[in-house]
């Protein structure tokens, strides 16, 4: 704010037009959302569409309020959130560690390559029955599914980042007599930070796919459970409400990662 004193009027005008444009974009975004909700609500009210199969914003609001009142809302949200976050962290941490190991040993990397290619291409949901038998029907099975889905992606993404380390910078460090562990800590890990951030972003999505898919296969609680249950008993208000909650949670988790990214870039 202090700086603006030194700007020329033309520059101030430019800044103002930039600000106005971003305000306009935000207004348009909300207007579209509001309009869609309004059309949806009105169509349901006047029975242009069948609210029994399409639900409506007000029915979604009522359903969520009911869930809240009978005390199950936070139970379901908490269950899914716990599964997603646990799976996410395990996949990221283990994935990072395995990628480090693969970077360290060329032999290990070359030998394991076909295994990773096959595991990456395999649709993990095919392992559903096995997971139920191995891990039971509790949250563990869903966390396991989430890890499976995120892990290979995390490994391959991080390994790509590690392997893309600049050759000349490697030569520079070697000419200083750096050991492999020094090369790792001083160069490979910091230079792959952008890959780490993009890996986190990808894995946020993967974790949600994993937990919801896991709950589809086997669950007693959670948002995925509400969707499956709602579908089976034809309570589409419940399905829509669960999807809505999912949207909010996924957006929040992505926003947290974006915040982490901004903090990291600021430090850079």
């Amino acid at each position: 704010m202090k700086k603006s004193m030194n700007y020329s009027p033309r520059h101030l005008q430019y800044l103002k037009s930039v600000r106005n444009k971003s305000i306009a974009v935000n207004i348009a975004r909300f207007a579209i959302l509001f309009l869609l909700l309004l059309i949806w609500e009105l169509s349901a009210r006047f029975a242009w569409i069948n609210p029994f199969i399409t639900s409506s914003p007000s029915r979604i609001g009522k359903t969520i309020a009911q869930l809240y009142e009978n005390g199950t809302l936070f139970y379901h949200v908490g269950t899914t959130l716990w599964e997603t976050l646990t799976g996410f962290f395990i996949a990221v941490v283990v994935g990072y560690a395995v990628a480090l190991l693969l970077w360290w040993s060329e032999a290990f990397r070359r030998i394991s390559e076909p295994y990773f290619v096959v595991l990456n291409a395999l649709p993990k949901i095919a392992l559903g029955p096995l997971i139920i038998i191995w891990c039971g029907t509790g949250s563990e099975a869903i966390v396991f599914m989430t890890v499976l889905i995120g892990l290979i992606v995390a490994i391959l993404n991080m390994l790509n980042g590690f392997m893309a380390t600049d050759e000349n910078k490697l030569l520079l460090l070697r000419s200083m007599g750096a050991s492999k562990i020094q090369i790792l800590t001083k160069l490979v890990i910091p230079s792959s930070l952008p890959n780490f951030i993009s890996m986190l972003k990808i894995n946020v999505g993967m974790a949600w796919i994993g937990s919801i898919m896991g709950e589809y296969i086997v669950s007693k609680a959670g948002i995925g459970y509400l969707i499956v249950y709602g579908g089976q008993v034809f309570k589409l208000d419940l399905v829509m409400s669960a999807v809505f909650i999912l949207c909010v949670l996924a957006a929040a988790m992505y926003a947290i990662v974006a915040l982490v990214e901004r903090l990291v870039i600021k430090n850079k």
Partner: protein
């Protein structure tokens, strides 16, 4: 004067699935303490191989590289400053690697940075510096561990011509000032003439030393040397030898 580096019949072969490449074939030369030696050769004749051999990063297939008990500082084509470290932290990097990150050594490095006009940039990140300043920071980083011999691998080829002339002048003044032995490898004939006491000419691959010249100019500053009328005579001679 003491000899700090000597190549004796050094050959270097590379193996790949496509075949065997002979990069160097019986290369002989030596560098004495305090000398500024330039090696010029056509592009792709194995210049970087030669520097890696000198620094002991590679072992020759045949022959001997005698680099005794001297320490080397390497300068590459680009500055290769780490963008996530401040200039100060970049300059301390070799100290950290050599586990010599003591207050005395840090102070010595900072004194060098200050002496050569980097003081105001110490807390800045490399991205905010000009190409010339970055190359100067790279030189100070190389000098931070006080190496006996500087190995320069076409250190300015990534800069545009105008910047190159002034940075070249700048950097070589610092090297002379600090009384360092230097081995420059380049394909740029005029750069070699403007800085070196001694020039070796390499042939096409497999590279051999085909000529050796001692240069004596009344002045040692690169830009002044370029103005000397001897300069174009040397240029013509070396150009012919390089393209023989």
């Amino acid at each position: 004067m003491k000899e700090v580096l000597r190549f004796e019949d050094v050959s270097m072969h590379y193996h790949s699935k496509q075949g065997e490449t002979v990069a160097l074939e019986k290369v002989n030369f030596s560098v004495k303490e305090g000398e500024f030696v330039a090696i010029i050769g056509p592009s792709g004749c194995g210049k970087t191989t030669l520097l890696s051999l000198a620094a002991g990063l590679l072992t020759p297939t045949d022959g001997k590289v005698k680099n005794g008990d001297v320490s080397f500082g390497y300068m590459l084509q680009k500055d290769e400053l780490f963008p996530w470290r401040t200039i100060e932290k970049n300059i301390f990097l070799p100290l950290e690697i050599k586990r010599a990150n003591t207050p005395q050594n840090r102070e010595r490095a900072l004194a060098l940075a200050e002496k050569y006009g980097l003081k105001q940039f110490l807390k800045n990140y490399p991205s905010s510096l000009s190409g010339g300043m970055r190359q100067r920071a790279a030189l100070i980083r190389t000098l931070a561990v006080n190496p006996d011999v500087l190995l320069l691998d076409e250190p300015f080829s990534a800069l545009d011509y105008q910047t190159r002339l002034s940075v070249c002048d700048d950097v070589y003044k610092i090297i002379r000032n600090e009384k360092k032995t230097a081995l420059l490898i380049t394909h740029d004939i005029s750069e070699a003439i403007s800085v070196a006491d001694k020039i070796f000419v390499l042939s096409q691959r497999p590279a051999r030393v085909t000529a050796k010249h001692l240069l004596s100019f009344p002045e040692n500053e690169p830009l002044k040397r370029r103005e000397n009328k001897e300069f174009s005579r040397w240029f013509e001679l070396l150009w012919k030898e390089l393209n023989a």
